[in-house]
């Protein structure tokens, strides 16, 4: 019988097969580190007198705690500073390559790996961060791990893992104008639920996925974890090869040819069988927004806030009641009438150059809504430079947005970029959990296009809701 993409990549990395319910020991091709989940792992190595087995397969950057303003000044928050300083000390002591704040390659770890060409098809990639699933867009098996596992990989370059099941998410057809990768994944999560992917590696397939750019595929794979999945993958193709080619760590010459030849074999065989399958019609996907406090609580922008009393499932109804109370939303309110205080464009989900270009096209020549704070945060220092080379920074600042330095920023409340209690945001990030963007903050997850249009109108909106911008010079 044929094998799925996930099974092929898995099989290629088995160091020791575990019998009888025991996990397989898997080799790890790339280990990404950041300041939050690594300190206790290094402490563990030190306590046991162990070193890093493969420094040449390990790389670190600073992202979660880093401020996005005044990055040349010492970090004000003492605990944030301690975490950053601890990473720097650990990397120096053990010899790990580090891209610190201020470095040209610094940025969100899941933006940095792909842009350096370190993420390639068929690899196993791990990081102490659940959004490691991002790298699956290359046909890599990429998984978020905990700190004990970080220590394990540092010491052994392997990880004991239970073989996952596989689920096909097939998206056929053409996405309507204005619908994007973010809307695809929000719709997938709303369909299968926040636990629907548990124990599975998802493989996104179908003509709508094939038509997506690498960056759009990264957005989709990034949020696989929000459906509870172990990982998300897209089979590598010409789009993938073109993206990898020429990057700093991409193979060259004969190595490139050998690599591509192998990468072409990394597709699910026609006679392979998935353990589960979900089919989605791309043509039906409208811009999606979340109304609740988990990423599965989402609806098309054209819908209204749902009524928990009308929900058949009692568990879902109770969760919805609690969510609406936290979100301060009344059932029946059209989502388009929900007014926001802030718009955040960035994160490992939507902080890459294409995301910034898409948002900039919407706001170009327009002015932001009064009273709305708009934060645009590139995913990496290199994305920031690229955007500035294209003049996008000026488009955003002319619009009235704040143009920041790279980092996780307002995606999570670990750095100075946070919502105040009761504030509501349209955010291109990945989690709308209670307090995720700051204690008491309320989050609506949206695509960059919807975020930008919302910043123009001040209520949840798509670009189709906007009037044409006023020309600067009367015709």
């Amino acid at each position: 019988m044929g094998r799925t993409l996930a099974e092929k990549v898995w099989d290629e990395h088995v160091v020791r097969r575990g019998g009888d319910g025991e996990p397989d020991l898997l080799y790890i091709d790339l280990h990404l580190l950041h300041e939050v989940t690594s300190p206790q792992a290094f402490e563990g190595l030190r306590l046991e007198g162990r070193g890093v087995r493969r420094l040449d397969l390990t790389i670190a950057t600073e992202d979660h705690n880093t401020p996005t303003l005044d990055i040349d000044k010492p970090i004000a928050d003492p605990t944030s500073r301690t975490q950053i300083e601890t990473l720097r000390r650990n990397c120096a002591e053990f010899g790990v390559r580090l891209h610190p704040l201020g470095d040209a390659e610094q940025g969100i770890v899941h933006v940095v790996g792909p842009q350096l060409g370190l993420t390639q098809p068929g690899m196993t990639v791990v990081c102490g961060d659940s959004h490691t699933s991002t790298h699956g867009a290359f046909g890599a098996l990429a998984m978020g791990i905990g700190t004990s596992e970080v220590e394990h990989v540092l010491a052994t370059q392997t990880l004991p893992l239970q073989r996952p099941r596989t689920m096909a998410i097939t998206v056929e057809g053409e996405l309507p104008e204005g619908s994007t990768a973010k809307d695809v994944i929000l719709a997938v999560i709303a369909r299968i639920g926040t636990g629907g992917g548990q124990g599975y590696v998802l493989e996104y397939r179908g003509s709508a996925i094939r038509a997506l750019s690498m960056e759009a595929r990264m957005t989709i794979c990034n949020m696989s974890i929000e459906a509870g999945a172990r990982a998300g993958m897209v089979a590598p193709d010409e789009t993938t090869f073109a993206y990898v080619k020429g990057r700093d760590h991409a193979p060259t010459g004969a190595d490139w040819d050998a690599a591509v030849e192998h990468w072409r074999s990394l597709r699910t065989d026609d006679d392979a069988v998935f353990d589960a399958e979900v089919v989605i019609d791309a043509a039906e996907l409208q811009p999606f927004v979340t109304w609740g406090t988990n990423p599965g609580q989402g609806l098309p922008l054209s819908a209204a806030v749902p009524d928990p009393e009308a929900m058949a499932d009692q568990g879902q109804a109770a969760a919805a009641r609690r969510a609406l109370e936290y979100m301060d939303l009344a059932p029946g309110t059209p989502l388009r009438e929900v007014a926001v205080d802030a718009v955040f464009i960035g994160s490992c989900t939507n902080g890459r150059i294409e995301d910034l270009r898409a948002a900039a096209e919407v706001v170009r020549g327009r002015t932001k809504a009064d009273g709305v704070r708009v934060l645009v945060v590139p995913g990496s220092a290199r994305v920031r430079l690229q955007a500035e080379a294209e003049g996008l920074d000026r488009v955003f600042t002319d619009f009235g947005a704040e143009w920041r330095f790279a980092g996780c920023s307002m995606c999570l409340g670990m750095n100075p970029d946070q919502l105040a209690p009761g504030e509501r945001a349209a955010s291109t990030s990945n989690r709308n959990f209670e307090g995720r963007q700051g204690r008491g903050g309320r989050t609506h997850l949206v695509s960059p296009l919807v975020a930008a249009a919302t910043a123009v109108r001040g209520t949840l909106s798509s670009p189709a809701d906007l009037e044409a911008p006023q020309p600067l010079v009367p015709a």
Binding site: V15, L30, T79, Q83, S148, T194, G315, L412, G435
Partner: protein
């Protein structure tokens, strides 16, 4: 790591589903660089509410958390497990766990035991009717005991074995160092390296 075979302690009913790791320990507590001292961050948002279960004296010394389905979703932060352990919990029972949380728990000696949702409901009723009731989690026999109830406990064989033996993961893997060496000799030369 200390072996875990059987634990008895006060049960705490947490009637919520989708308890994500941001609720278990908000991101602001992740800035520490030590391995202990996270108990103050546990459910810190909810603990602001005087009626929250852990603020009730009968439950405050609990060590067996009984939660709704999909416990531990969201971020991979192992701090969630540390916070539960530092607070004094030795076991969490739920009808469904997020994969990363379950993996993290097993590595730290926290039992993440799966029960049927009907059994969770029965235990909740008991714990609420008689606050302070003890729950026994018996890994050896794979059962949970609460008052008259004897509920089958689901936990995978490998995690159970490691908990029973108190085995350290890295040490276990390093028994296979020859296999790792052999695997490395066969890796293709074009695989990327972070160092020149």
């Amino acid at each position: 790591m200390d072996p875990v075979t059987r634990h008895t302690g006060v049960g705490v009913p947490l009637r919520r589903s989708d308890v994500d790791t941001d609720q278990i320990i908000p991101a602001v507590y992740l800035k520490r660089v030590s391995r202990t001292g996270f108990e103050d961050g546990l459910f810190s948002g909810w603990r602001q509410d005087p009626s929250f279960v852990l603020n009730q004296p009968a439950y405050s010394s609990g060590s067996v958390l009984v939660a709704g389905p999909d416990f531990g979703t969201g971020s991979s932060r192992e701090h969630a497990v540390w916070a539960l352990k530092d607070y004094g919990f030795r076991a969490v029972l739920s009808s469904r766990f997020a994969d990363i949380f379950r993996g993290n728990a097993g590595k730290q000696g926290l039992v993440a035991g799966q029960l049927a949702q009907e059994d969770v409901e029965l235990i909740w009723k008991q714990l609420e009717a008689r606050p302070g009731t003890e729950v026994t989690v018996d890994l050896q026999e794979r059962v949970v005991l609460c008052a008259e109830l004897v509920a089958p406990l689901q936990i995978d064989d490998y995690t159970r074995w490691r908990l029973l033996e108190g085995l350290d993961d890295v040490g276990l893997t390093l028994r296979d160092v020859d296999a790792i060496d052999a695997f490395e000799r066969e890796r293709p030369s074009w695989k990327p390296r972070t160092l020149a």
